[in-house]
């Protein structure tokens, strides 16, 4: 589910932020920003401050984003690739702003229909020792039965979802409170972590101990103990194995089952 088509990604990003797409051809995308988006990404607070002060509306800018490398010389605009500052900015913006959701499965019915609450969390587990890697896990927990589902985002992708509840539908109250639901998910993750062998951590600890030993050998005299302690801290900081569990985003989803 990683981003593969940057043009599509940008198009979706801006249309979902209610910006008008002026043109989109051959990997050259022209967007009319809204005031809100201009304020969010164009970094010109003084302009907006000034324009509002003199009682005018202000003109949001247009952006031209080029994803087709062959067009980057020919067209005037920003070349967007995975490392470009603009894309990094939009990604940061997304990560900061799209953390919480509440959604309903869209149902066309004339009968009374129950929707069940799911707690969905997308987690990033990072393993950091000498080196670092991330693992992304998407988990859903049905808050009535306690049924748990992995790859939850892939499942949700197949369903029509919307922000409001469909006609004739009603929601079932959760049996499991979301706080304890979250604990259940967490313990599953902890269990999963516990069951791994973690060679990377052993490897890191081995290096950690070796380097501490080397360091003690270097500072054999008393007078440099302060410097030695500083170096020791740096070695521990660099090699101590640590696993962090972060929630990328999540929320409550009301689904048919």
């Amino acid at each position: 589910m990683a981003i593969t088509n940057l043009n599509q990604f940008l198009h979706d990003y801006f249309t979902n932020h209610h910006c008008q797409i002026l043109t989109n051809q051959d990997g050259v995308l022209q967007i009319q920003l809204t005031e809100e988006m201009d304020r969010a990404i164009m970094n010109r607070p003084f302009y907006w401050h000034y324009i509002k002060k003199i009682g005018r509306d202000g003109e949001p800018m247009t952006l031209t984003l080029i994803t087709n490398p062959e067009k980057r010389e020919a067209e005037k605009g920003e070349w967007i690739h995975f490392g470009s500052p603009r894309l990094q900015q939009l990604i940061r913006h997304l990560k900061e702003n799209e953390r919480y959701t509440k959604l309903f499965q869209q149902v066309t019915t004339t009968k009374n229909t129950a929707l069940y609450p799911w707690l969905v969390t997308n987690l990033k587990v990072s393993y950091r020792g000498k080196h670092k890697k991330d693992e992304i896990i998407s988990i859903g927990l049905q808050l009535v039965t306690g049924n748990m589902k992995l790859e939850m985002m892939n499942h949700l992708k197949t369903l029509p979802l919307q922000a409001t509840i469909s006609d004739y539908c009603y929601t079932i109250s959760p049996m499991i409170k979301i706080q304890s639901g979250f604990k259940r998910i967490e313990s599953v993750i902890l269990n999963y972590i516990e069951n791994q062998t973690h060679e990377w951590a052993q490897d890191s600890l081995k290096t950690l101990n070796e380097e501490l030993k080397t360091l003690r050998h270097f500072y054999q005299d008393e007078e440099h103990s302060e410097q030695m302690n500083k170096e020791m801290e740096a070695i521990k900081e660099r090699y101590s194995p640590i696993i962090s569990i972060e929630t990328i985003n999540g929320g409550i989803f009301y689904l048919l089952n």
Binding site: T101, K124, M153, A163, L190, T207, H217, P241, N249, I252
Partner: protein
């Protein structure tokens, strides 16, 4: 498992709960799933490999650069000496390493210490090439910017020093790190007391003289890696020959040092064409040269050597020096006489040749190196007379002026005339003609000059013109030193190692000594020949057992 610390997310579920209670704002499905996609895209699913390469599609990295970055991160765990030969792209490797750590979220703040003259160049490279938002330190800036670049001299001065030592940096980089070879200096003590996680030391000449200098450099990265000071001295002494003899020591050094040589990399693709340009003095010029040479009056031998070298460069250089000597030591009829004759000399034979070459190269850029400022000024004026615009470049220029001159050279004028001090740290790979207007007596400096243009990013073959005037000292230096050891063709990365082995601290003073202590030209030639024979021999020996990773 017990030894692994686990950090949980304590904040998310509280915030979600409170939003549900207060019916706060929620993301649409589209944006919610886009944020998830974005996270997958930016995460690093494996411990190894360079994720940063996906972020830098506009940079073409060479194989040895990628390999160096991987080695520094994966095998050396982020503490390494990058010791590639001049022009192989140490900056690129360092930028790639820093970028990788930033992409993986392992580095948030970094301190980059470089020579003052290179601060803005680093700032530009990191920003433009790597999209690393690095800023150069200015007065009254705080030191807790994300990525900050400064000179070591600024950083170690109060109050900067105190502020910096307060900080905990994730990443520290020191360019031209061979300046840290002595552990008793302020620089060394300062760098050692920095709090750091990852650390890169960049140097093109890692082992200039003594083994203990290597020890000191490595002790910044990994104190104890080579033992402590006393035990190290006991075991290896000060002689750096031991590196070669002791396989174990060599291995230890290779664990923290990456050294790519031109020979082992793909950079050989652009060739250097070397042309010795023999020039004959006009009769008048030769007469004055001979007269100066024969004078036994008054000068110390060393200053006479200087005057002769200057005369081979320009009338102006020699004239000014002689004038200075009169001011210092009082009037002298013999010197006056020579000065008068210099004053009547026609334009310098070398300057004329420069103009000839300028006409041959068409509108391509040319860089000219000279040892003397007076020659620099004279050449600028002389070229101007012939319709060629030039800009000067000196080590003493302020940072901004250097940048400005480089920009002028790139965009507007055809020639850049640099004195020696301008050699280090400017990159001029858009230019592929270089005139060594006069040759330094230290071959390493020639390599540094050529390294300005024959480096990573050069797309054409490089044309080097070495000027030498027949029947003068320049002829001896050219034939007995440069041509004999073939110094221009092969890159002399090993030369500094060899000179150190032979206990020659400075090639320049060695040659001066030869001139000063010889009674005849014949004697000079024999001695120079002996010197180069030894070097030649050692070069041959070194071919096989190369020091470094390749």
């Amino acid at each position: 498992m017990d030894s692994i610390q686990i950090k949980k997310d304590l904040q998310f579920i509280n915030e979600l709960e409170s939003r549900l209670e207060k019916d706060g704002t929620f993301s649409s499905w589209e944006l919610f799933s886009m944020a998830y996609e974005a996270e997958i895209t930016t995460s690093s699913p494996t411990f190894t490999g360079l994720k940063a390469l996906e972020y830098l599609p506009h940079v073409t990295f060479l194989e040895h650069q990628i390999k160096a970055a991987e080695t520094a991160i994966e095998l050396m765990n982020g503490r390494a000496i990058l010791a590639d030969e001049v022009g192989l792209g140490k900056t690129i490797e360092a930028g790639l390493i820093l970028k990788e750590y930033m992409v993986r979220g392992l580095v948030n703040n970094a301190l980059i210490l470089v020579p003052a003259s290179l601060v803005s160049q680093w700032e530009r490279e990191l920003n433009e090439k790597f999209y690393i938002p690095a800023v150069a330190h200015r007065k009254n800036y705080s030191w807790d910017q994300n990525v900050i670049i400064s000179s070591l001299d600024t950083a170690k001065r109060s109050p900067n020093r105190e502020n910096i030592l307060e900080m905990e940096y994730d990443f520290i980089l020191i360019d031209e790190a061979h300046k840290l070879k002595n552990h008793k200096t302020k620089n060394y003590e300062f760098v050692q007391s920095l709090k750091k996680k990852y650390c890169l030391l960049l140097t093109a000449t890692p082992v200039q003289n003594q083994l203990i200098e290597v020890f000191n450099l490595i002790s910044i990265l990994k104190p104890g890696h080579l033992g402590n000071y006393e035990s190290f001295l006991d075991r290896y002494g000060k002689d750096r020959k031991n590196i070669k003899q002791d396989a174990y020591l060599k291995q230890l050094i290779q664990k923290v040092m990456i050294r790519n040589t031109r020979k082992a990399t793909a950079l050989n693709q652009t060739k250097r064409n070397i042309e010795t340009v023999w020039i004959e003095f006009s009769n008048e010029e030769m007469e004055v040269y001979k007269e100066l040479e024969a004078t036994t009056q008054n000068f110390s031998t060393f200053s006479k050597i200087t005057y002769l070298r200057e005369l081979c460069s320009s009338r102006e250089a020699c004239f000014l020096s002689l004038k200075k000597s009169i001011e210092e030591y009082g009037d002298n009829p013999i010197v006056q006489n020579i000065m008068e004759k210099i004053g009547r000399l026609p334009h310098h034979a070398k300057a004329k040749r420069v103009v000839d070459i300028m006409k041959e190269v068409g509108d391509e850029k040319v860089i000219i190196f000279t040892e003397y400022r007076a020659s620099q000024l004279y050449l600028q004026w002389y070229l101007q007379q012939h319709g060629f615009k030039s800009v000067p470049f000196r080590g003493g220029f302020k940072r901004s002026k250097k940048d400005w001159m480089k920009q002028l050279f790139k965009d507007h004028v055809q020639v850049l005339i640099a004195t020696e001090a301008g050699g280090e740290g400017i990159n001029l790979q858009f230019c592929n003609h270089l005139i060594n207007y006069d040759l330094p007596w230290n071959p390493m400096r020639v390599e540094q000059r050529i390294g300005r243009i024959h480096r990573y990013g050069q797309e054409k073959d490089v044309q080097i013109y070495n000027f030498a005037i027949k029947e003068t000292m320049e002829e001896h230096i050219m034939t007995l030193l440069y041509e004999k050891i073939n110094l221009f063709e092969q890159v002399i990365g090993n030369l500094d190692d060899i000179l150190a082995d032979l206990n020659i601290n400075s090639m320049e003073s060695e040659i001066e000594k030869i001139y000063a202590e010889s009674n005849s030209i014949g004697e000079v030639k024999i001695k120079l020949d002996n010197l180069t024979s030894i070097i030649e021999h050692s070069l041959g020996e070194q071919e096989a057992e190369r020091y470094g990773n390749h």
